[in-house]
């Protein structure tokens, strides 16, 4: 009913879709510089500046910037690194985990920061690259710690009968080589993509209903814009949570690889 009423107005409403996320700015094809690549370069510049400024003049009584930097670092170092990987060998992974955390956090928040308003991680290439780094790191430390054969042995839980060993080994191998990296990348991608799509739908659709809708549809437009605001607040929560979860899972996978025989 509403679609018919809207079509009668003349201009039609285009539902947002996958195509809205492909925005090449310079060039075209596989090597185009897209909006996402500009955004991630911007995030690296902003993060470098923020972290350098936050740690420049270190004092015992911290300034606001130093306090914020230290809180974020403390969350990753103690809450994720030390508690999950264990106090013995967590320190060498903290730089990786902290970089992942702040990079993903800022890029996710770019989804709702005005002017930028594009979540980098809604293009599968970016989370896939991050997941690939985590994948390489946890297998590399596993092989270094247990040796080549020892690492394959270490993924089998102890105390299994011979008959169960082979199916469990195959399951664990599929988990380690396939499920973990794929879900790691897809989880971040899916959350950012779906969240941004929802915001585009509510705000774009609300704007269209308000400006082009007939009579009562204008009221629906106000409702849609209100939902857009509510979803924006909810999205900020999801964005912070996803940055945390990505780092948490990376720490867990590393912890599993460096753990002693269980």
């Amino acid at each position: 009913m509403s679609i018919v009423a809207l079509a009668a107005e003349g201009s039609t409403y285009e539902t947002p879709g996958v195509a809205d996320f492909w925005q090449p700015l310079i060039g075209s094809g596989a090597f185009a510089i897209t909006r996402a690549s500009i955004v991630i370069m911007l995030s690296v510049a902003i993060l470098s500046w923020l972290l350098l400024a936050g740690t420049k003049k270190l004092t015992v009584v911290p300034s606001k910037g130093q306090f914020a930097t230290e809180s974020a670092y403390g969350l990753v170092r103690n809450g994720l690194g030390r508690d999950i990987i264990g106090s013995h060998d967590f320190l060498k992974f903290v730089p990786l985990l902290f970089t992942m955390f702040v990079l993903i956090l800022l890029n996710n928040l770019f989804s709702v920061i005005p002017v930028v308003q594009f979540p980098t991680m809604s293009r599968i290439g970016f989370p896939a690259a991050l997941a690939l780094v985590v994948f390489a790191v946890y297998h590399a430390v596993g092989f270094r710690k247990h040796g080549f054969v020892g690492y394959f042995k270490s993924i089998i839980p102890a105390g299994l009968s011979i008959g169960l060993m082979i199916p469990i080994f195959l399951l664990e191998l599929i988990t380690d080589l396939f499920t973990r990296p794929v879900t790691l990348a897809l989880r971040l991608f899916g959350n950012m993509f779906a969240g941004h799509l929802l915001l585009v739908l509510f705000i774009g659709g609300g704007e269209y209903l308000l400006l082009h809708g007939a009579g009562g549809l204008k009221i629906a437009g106000v409702g849609a814009l209100g939902m857009g605001f509510v979803m924006t607040v909810f999205e900020i929560l999801v964005q912070v949570l996803q940055a945390y979860i990505f780092t948490l899972l990376a720490a867990l996978y590393i912890a599993g690889a460096v753990a002693d025989e269980h």
């Binding site: 996958v18 809450g79 994720l80 508690d83 999950i84 879900t183 897809l186 989880r187 991608f189 899916g190 959350n191 993509f193 779906a194 949570l241 945390y244 979860i245 948490l248 899972l249 867990l252």
Partner: protein, 71 residues
């Protein structure tokens, strides 16, 4: 009755049922645990979010595949 649309979207709806129930159960258990023993909150929180993330993965697969198989 004649219906138009894309059945891939229906697949996403179906794939969201399981994780929906699962995430609910995980947070119910987490709230129960914290209510009984508030000092265990710090220990339970990463576990709860981990379970949430793992359960949610199925719904995310459904969403990704809905767009892959669309039209």
């Amino acid at each position: 009755m004649n219906m138009t649309g894309d059945i891939a979207i229906l697949g996403y709806g179906l794939s969201a049922i399981g994780p929906g129930v699962g995430v609910g159960l995980i947070f119910a258990a987490y709230i129960n645990g914290v209510a009984r023993q508030p000092e265990a909150r710090g220990m339970l929180q990463p576990i709860a979010f981990l379970g949430f993330a793992l359960a949610e993965a199925l719904a995310i697969f459904g969403l990704a595949l809905a767009f892959v198989f669309k039209g």
